[in-house]
Amino acid sequence: MLFYSFFKTLVNEQVTVELKNDLVITGTLKSVDQFLNIKLDDIQVIDEDRYPHMISVKNCFIRGSVVRYVQLPQQAVDTALLQDAARREAAQPSSAQQANVRVK
């Protein structure tokens, strides 16, 4: 939940997403969900000649499982706050990892 909340604070920022297949996409972060699926608007593909299928795509939905990195603008991140939150999360992961399936 921590990173979901973290990404929610970064909506409307310019981010660069690097996928596990080395595809790199820059765009405006429009939304994120609990699986860290990402929606980007107005995308620009780095090295777009290698990916002709992406030429006519302006907005995309990226499945969280295929993301390798999300590069963020330095000034958009309060590093100290994030470190603090991560420390707290590591100390008591009580609210984290709630399953989507509850067996009755």
């Binding site: 939905f61 990226i62 499945r63």
Partner: protein
């Protein structure tokens, strides 16, 4: 035994806005499918209608009509909304299916030869060569 969704089920990145839109779906095996999204779920399982599989080789492409697809979410890399204006500007030209399939096979073979050379070189340096099929996207 009843399975209910947890309280975190409400995804905000729903694909609800993309329903009934013409989308390009890129799959983990490298395929590009273009179709109209009809439905989705929390796993990003998708139903695409009037799907065509578009094969790109160089700056050419070829389309194969495929009908209705149900795609298991784990195979999805990304969904792109197709911009009709940008589609026209692209310097891609359409070629008949047979041609593109031939070109695709040649491209695959060239890649395999390159991979063979690469893994041979790595092997000579003492690296372990695994022949596992990685994601082709």
């Amino acid at each position: 035994m009843e399975i209910t969704s947890g309280p975190l089920f409400t995804t905000s990145t729903g694909l609800i806005d993309s329903v009934d839109k013409k989308l390009m779906v890129v799959l983990r095996d490298g395929r590009k499918l273009i179709g109209t999204l009809r439905s989705f779920d929390q796993f990003a399982n998708l139903v695409l209608q009037d799907t065509i599989e578009r094969i790109y080789v160089g700056n050419c492409f070829g389309d194969i009509p495929r009908g209705i697809f149900i795609i298991r979410g784990e195979n999805v890399v990304l969904l792109g909304e197709l911009d009709t204006e940008k589609e026209e500007c692209a310097n891609l030209r359409e070629v008949p299916v047979e041609e593109i399939l031939v070109a695709q096979r040649e491209e695959m073979e060239a890649k395999q030869r390159l991979d063979k050379v690469r893994s041979k070189a790595l092997h000579n340096h003492g690296f372990c060569v695994d022949n596992a099929q990685n994601d082709l996207y």
